[in-house]
Amino acid sequence: MSQNPYIDVLINAVLTVLFIIIASFGLGTLARYIAKWAGAPKKQQENTFAGYLFAAPWIVGFLIFVLIPLGYSLYWSFTDYRVTENVPPNWVGLSNYAQLIHDSGFRASIVNTLFLTAIGLPLMIAVALFLAVLLNQKTRGEHVFRMAFYLPVILGFNTAVLLSWRLMLNTGTGIINQLIRAFSNAFPPFSYLNRAVIFIQELISAVFLGISSGKFNLLNRVWAAGLPAANRVPMWVESPLWTKMSVVLLMVWGCGAMMLIFLAGLNNIPRELHDAADVDGANSWQHFWKISFPLLTPFVFYNLVVGLIACLQIFEPIYVLYRDNQPLVPSVISMVYYLWQTSFRNFEIGYGSAISWLILFLILAVTAVQFLIQKRWVNYDLY
């Protein structure tokens, strides 16, 4: 192995390409022999060879990087395995999974994920839909607006952008709270709105924190304190009541991909339907709820499925903003963050495998449930 990391990876890349080519020809030839043995005509034998030859990179990669690792991690999830100690895995049966049920850290990560899906995802879909409807009005400079709304998707959860948000969310000097203060001082109604939103948000967060810790004294405190004082601002990255909301804010900011999907859906709705409603004297509100929205439900469904999977995989914001922040971590920890912590900080491979499988199972289960109940509300009339 070369000492220079750049040359090392280049050599390995060339070796990998050679390996893939050899494996592809091997798989293609094998497939041709089987086709020949099965008595396929000459042309089909050639197609079998070519098909497996071209698909081989994926098939081989699937075996090496997906199927075999999944099998191993399933086995390890039933063992006590620490990669640092150089001892073989020791079979412990279901004890990892049993331990997970009583693990307060894991429980917190599930409850926090629930918050992101129950509060963040609907907000994200609503904002995406709202922006799509606005853009669908055929305005001047539509393309510039589209670009601006899609920009956050490209920037994504890049560390750089997350840190920019961290600066903006500072409780004392951050620009967001400065603007909230300025608006509150200028327009008293805004101040009341701000205080009401803070109160409701803290109540909801306190409920979720109560569920994850089993103790509801924080909820009682928030409730007893009543409507916050006039000069209160959100304590974004400093209070356990606000940490999850800061992640929700980031999610909503990145709703541009969902917006594009909704825009495609809106473009698909035949003009005649709206014309007919105009003849009947429908207003914009009725146009949206009686025509557009029912026909958009397949797109809402798509965004829900994709968004939920994304919610269950959140890692970067928690790592960049809250890593090592001991008092706050439990209030915001996500399942993937917890997986990272157990597997790659504590190197508990057996326990980490159990978490991996639980995450996988949750994603499959949630998606399956969504597909089962979609018949009740998704409207496929147009398709």
């Binding site: 990391p5 090392d8 990876v9 280049l10 390995n12 890349a13 990998t16 390409v17 396929a40 070519a50 497996y52 071209f54 698909a55 990179p57 990669g61 699937f62 990087f65 997906v66 075999i68 999944l70 191993y72 991690s73 390890w76 606005l134 009005q137 305005t139 393309h143 607006f145 709304f149 899609y150 920009l151 956050p152 490209i154 920037l155 959860f157 890049n158 560390t159 750089a160 840190l163 920019s164 948000w165 961290r166 600066l167 903006m168 400065q178 900011w253 594009l260 495609a264 995989q313 890692f315 790592y319 090592d324 993937v336 997986l339 597997s343 790659f344 491979i349 495998s353 991996s356 994603i363």
Partner: protein, 280 residues
Amino acid sequence: MRTTWHITKRIILYIFLTGATVVMCFPLFWMISSSLKTLQETNSPGILLVPAHPTLAAYIDIFHNADFLRSYFNSVFYTTLALIGTLFSIAVVAYAFSRIKWPGRNIVFFLMLSTMMIPSQALLVPQYVFFNKLHWIGSFNPIVIPGFFAGGAAMIFLLRQAMAQIPVELDESAIMDGANHLQIFWEIVLPLVKAPIAIVATFLFVGLWNSLLAPLIYLQTVSLYTLPVYVSTLYNINSAVQPWPTIMTAAVLTTVPLMIVFFIAQRYILEGVVITGLKG
């Protein structure tokens, strides 16, 4: 009456759209603005939209920071290498799924689509052990090599949809002329799917450039860090004062390639080529 109402509605519409645009672009603006401020200005209470005394000090400093420059090079290097390998293998596999009829194609295709449901994080633990056995921890291999095996089912699907739209007659006449699949792939199909390839390349680039978790786990030493990992170390939660101008300068320089790629590719992405691909 009707026209006044109509004009008012238009004005409200534009106010909303402009407001949303400002909100969406604000973090980027704030990043740039803060990178030009002094440390005092970034920590001062008060609304300072643009720095009172713009300074390039942070930029000059960061160009003397060897760790930052190396992590920049590392990011460019690993992204380029992984992008080439992934893009090429994805195109090859998409060709197999769209232009060749072979027994088992539907089963393999369905299998590939179902891997979209498997979160990459669920595979991290066993893959880590596997790479550890290969002595690949602390090298670029684990974040570059897996992509060479057509990593990214959604991207294969997107490209397959685009390739499937090319008329079959083109292949058939080429086969008449004695061309093999490799020639058809390279000389006929690839030139016809340039736009979808550009989109896939953009998505792959963005994914690789923004990637944090895998580089964090596998690279281990500062000399190998990619930008997201290195930039995250600049923000230390336990120190009282954060060097915000420095962090924001690093952030601006990190996002520059993303912006360039987005401006080049936005026409294809926003005009819904992707969505036609997804729907078909």
